[in-house]
């Protein structure tokens, strides 16, 4: 068996290196740079029931070793995705995971109902953590009661695995991980962006039109690793964790994996280093060879082994 192949929630992935939602569109553009069938999976930009126009400009700002964004989940809506974009990607030999967003429980469920019949979409990633929309998203991700209800309602009918992407903008991430497990989610994705802000000192006002935005990139790597660590420590046996946040190289990815991630997603690095996901795949392979390991699975959560409980 291939050293990087892994089965998670009943689905076989070529490798544990995926691309993160909102940083790779729907795969169409990346496919013009390299053969994206080499990726373990592509997580789509957030899909909502109706088209969303997104936030006004400026939507992006650079910060030390990171960037802020307030895209506001601009997307053509799930129907337009199926009609116009799906035909282009349907023959690409990798898995697609739909990142799903709604303003109400009903909207989340409706998007998933529509995607149930789309063969190439193998799983859903519930975005309950996007900080850029006033209604909805952030409430679901930061309120234990509504989060539980949402997951339970979707699990009651959805045939495909359900991953929940959690907000790092909470005091105790494990409290939310616990809800995901109890409500029978199939996986946890850690982490989405952290709320941040930049001030334009010349115009003396917030830089982004929405004032605050989501911080991503190398700056957030240690926070993602810490949250994966905490979650794995408590619930590592109960649910697979997908790591995302600050990954550019295989070294960053290995930190996620050793802290407890069963797969990782490359996000912002797709902007400044489009070939980064391929380098991560190669780098992990080489690392396994150097360490004489048979499979990367041996590394999942391995940094915990010396912890005496």
């Amino acid at each position: 068996m291939d050293k990087l192949e892994i089965e998670l929630f009943g689905i076989k992935f070529k490798n544990p290196v995926w691309v993160a939602s909102g940083t790779f569109g729907y795969g169409v553009e990346g496919a013009k740079i390299y053969d994206i069938s080499k990726l373990g999976a592509v997580v789509t930009k957030g899909l909502s029931l109706r088209p969303r126009e997104g936030n006004p400009m400026p939507r992006i700002a650079e910060t030390p070793c990171g960037m802020l964004n307030s895209i506001g989940l601009q997307n053509p809506g799930v129907e337009a995705f199926i009609k116009k974009i799906y035909p282009i990607i349907k023959d690409i030999d990798t898995h697609f995971i739909a990142n799903v967003f709604g303003e109400t429980e009903e909207e989340y469920m409706e998007v998933i109902r529509i995607l149930e019949d789309v063969p190439k979409i193998v799983a859903y990633e519930l975005n309950v953590s996007c900080p850029n929309v006033k209604k909805g998203g952030v409430v679901f991700g930061q309120d234990p009661v509504v989060l539980r209800s949402l997951i339970e309602k979707i699990k009651a009918f959805a045939k495909k695995p359900l991953l929940v992407k959690l907000s790092p903008n909470v005091t105790d991430i494990t409290e939310f991980a616990k809800i995901c497990i109890e409500a029978k989610a199939d996986g946890i994705v850690l982490i989405n962006t952290l709320v941040g802000m930049k001030i334009d000192i010349y115009n003396e006002r917030p830089f982004l039109a929405t004032k605050t935005g989501g911080l991503s990139g190398p700056a957030i790597l240690p926070i993602a690793v810490r949250m994966i660590w905490q979650t794995y420590e408590k619930y590592g046996k109960a649910i697979p964790i997908i790591g995302v946040g600050g990954i550019t190289t295989h070294i960053d990815a290995l930190e996620h994996i050793l802290a407890g991630a069963s797969a990782v997603q490359v996000g912002t690095a797709n902007f400044y280093k489009p070939l980064s996901p391929l380098d991560v795949i190669e780098g992990i392979k080489n690392h396994l060879d150097t360490k004489n390991l048979k499979h990367f699975k041996e590394l999942i959560g391995r940094a915990h082994r010396l912890d005496i409980k």
């Binding site: 569109g25 553009e29 496919a31 013009k32 740079i33 992006i60 070793c65 895209i71 700056a219 489009p274």
Partner: protein
């Protein structure tokens, strides 16, 4: 929302992520540098295309920066850039033999000349490097065209040697009258009828081109310079308002028909 996805383009891998060697990097104007990069393979570059360049190999600054491709000659790619911030000042310190990561060709390359009408090319500031390749094409096709270039003052003017080398006449405006005519480059449109306009420059200039074109019924094309994170269509950070909602400057543009976008 127009995502302009072309099925036929899909299997065609044509954007390249290349590490290129700096052949030359020198100051050519008050705040402007010329960088020549070594291109070892053929890239199909059209007027209006741009390149993303990573100023250094660290995470600060994080993203690549967008630059118009001013010219391609044999194995040389020409970029003219103004020093405005962190990335461009780092670029100005690069030496011959250093290397930078690049992604290209990017953008729609929509500068299509008219064969029957007069083609008017307008450049403001560093926008001159966004129209030079188009001027080269107009000259090669022997079409009817005129180039107008506006700069703040004499010391800000760049690329005159380049235009001279290709034998392309160029008329200059400066804000302070220190070189050429005193005034704005858009003054050149005043007594004009029945022409196509191609403009690249700061937003106030493009707004003025939009207004004049609407009033006079010109077909005009404007090239935008919205800040970008990815440059190839995946971040949605560079959008511009259009009749169909927000569209991406890096993929649906950076050249737009002037009545298509709201600045």
């Amino acid at each position: 929302m127009n995502f302009s996805l072309n099925v036929f383009n899909y299997y065609n891998i044509f954007m390249k992520d290349l590490r290129l060697k700096v052949l030359r990097n020198e100051r050519v104007g008050k705040h402007t540098y010329l960088m020549i990069l070594e291109l070892k393979e053929h890239i199909d570059i059209k007027p209006g295309h741009f390149v993303m360049i990573k100023p250094n190999d660290t995470f600060d600054p994080l993203n690549r920066r967008a630059f118009a491709i001013a010219d391609v000659e044999y194995d040389s790619l020409y970029i003219y850039y103004d020093i405005v911030g962190k990335g461009t000042s780092i670029m100005s310190s690069l030496k011959e033999g250093d290397s930078v990561d690049t992604l290209m060709p990017l953008g729609n390359g929509l500068f299509e000349p008219s064969v029957d009408k007069l083609n008017i090319v307008l450049a403001g500031g560093i926008g001159i490097s966004g129209v030079s390749l188009f001027c080269k094409l107009l000259k090669a096709k022997n079409l009817n065209f005129k180039v107008y270039y506006g700069a703040r003052s004499k010391e800000h003017i760049v690329m005159l040697d380049w235009f001279e080398k290709y034998g392309i006449p160029i008329e200059i405006y400066t804000d302070d009258g220190s070189f050429g005519k005193k005034g704005f480059v858009t003054d050149a449109l005043e007594n004009l009828e029945n022409a196509n306009i191609y403009a690249c420059g700061p937003t106030p200039m493009l707004k003025s081109v939009q207004a004049i074109s609407k009033q006079k019924g010109f077909d005009s094309y404007i090239s935008l310079e919205n800040p970008m994170a990815c440059g190839y269509g995946v971040c949605l950070g560079c959008v511009v308002k259009s009749k169909n909602g927000y569209i991406r400057t890096c993929v649906e543009g950076p050249v737009f028909k002037s009545d298509e976008v709201m600045l």
